[in-house]
């Protein structure tokens, strides 16, 4: 069982994705979805040696709601800067965010969150994977942005994944 389904959650996700794609309920689709869900994890398992561990799945759902809300707020802030702020008054800054997270899934989720939320964008990672390079569209106080990212998102992800 373990060898046939190296990643059960990946299999489940693929089946659900396939049904979203074909958009109707048919037995044939289920067979094809199950075939894809079995073959793809088997073929690609060489690139996923470890199973990602999520300690609190419900925490992940709450996190998604928080991020979705922040994305909407982010858009109002960015729109205001783009439309009304004089060009020479926009203070763009690079920010280096040291990471406490170690699991790759948590780090990629954090990087994605930073890109989607208020005026910040993940640009790069340090070669050792212990720090993220973040670009802020308008940040007169870069340290406050860094502390905000760590307190608002990273601490939550740490509780969910580690």
């Amino acid at each position: 069982m373990r060898r046939l389904f190296p990643h059960p959650y990946l299999t489940l996700t693929l089946v659900i994705l396939w049904f979203l794609l074909v958009n109707q309920w048919k037995l044939g689709s289920l067979v094809l979805a199950l075939m894809l869900g079995t073959v793809i994890p088997l073929v690609t398992s060489a690139w996923w040696p470890d199973r990602p561990r999520v300690k609190r799945p419900f925490g992940l759902a709450a996190y998604a709601v928080l991020v979705l809300w922040d994305v909407i707020v982010a858009n109002f802030q960015v729109a205001r800067i783009v439309l009304f702020m004089p060009r020479d008054r926009i203070r763009s800054n690079w920010i280096s965010v040291p990471l406490d997270l170690t699991s790759p899934e948590a780090i990629s989720l954090l990087a994605g969150t930073i890109t989607m939320t208020p005026g910040t964008l993940t640009a790069d990672m340090s070669a050792c994977g212990r720090a993220l390079l973040v670009h802020a569209l308008h940040a007169p106080d870069p340290d406050a942005v860094r502390d905000d990212i760590k307190a608002r998102y990273e601490s939550r992800l740490k509780r969910i994944f580690e």
Binding site: L17, F19, L20, L21, N23, V71, I72, A74, N75, V78, A79, V82, L83, R87, I90, S92, W94, I95, S96, P98, A111, G112, T115, M116, G119, L121, T122, A123, D124, M125, S126, A127, C128, R130, A131, L133, H135, L137
Partner: protein, 124 residues
């Protein structure tokens, strides 16, 4: 069914659509207006995504109101939310490597260089 509910839904959908259209426009306008390459990266990744999000939201509810339920909106939304950060990251890495970004990068604070500029050039 009271006639009030469809009216409210109509207003809600119209508001979402108008808001989404304005945001999509702002994103494309920001591409023209912002002066520096790294700043230009900000406008489309966020504003445009919410434009599409609005259209998909309205499409889902409108089709559901007509009795056809379509799940593909969820798929597109999910896909855009997952891919927008990745293309932004790739574009940022390209800007950094080609020296078109603002050059005053901060130190990593870990003793190693940033991955794009490091000697061992690895995938993100």
């Amino acid at each position: 069914m009271t006639p009030l509910l469809p009216l409210l839904l109509d207003f809600l959908l119209a508001t979402v659509l108008i808001g989404g259209g304005i945001f999509a426009l702002v994103g494309s306008y920001g591409l023209l207006r912002l002066p520096r390459p790294m700043q230009r990266l900000h406008a489309p990744t966020k504003a445009t995504t919410i434009g599409v999000g609005a259209a998909l939201f309205v499409s889902a509810l409108d089709l559901a109101g007509q009795g056809q339920i379509s799940w593909q909106e969820i798929l597109i939304t999910l896909f855009l939310l997952l891919t927008a950060p990745i293309s932004a990251l790739f574009l940022a890495k390209t800007l950094i490597l080609r020296g078109e970004a603002d050059p005053d990068l901060p130190a990593t604070g870990t003793g190693t260089p940033w991955a794009t500029l490091g000697s061992e050039h690895r995938d993100p």
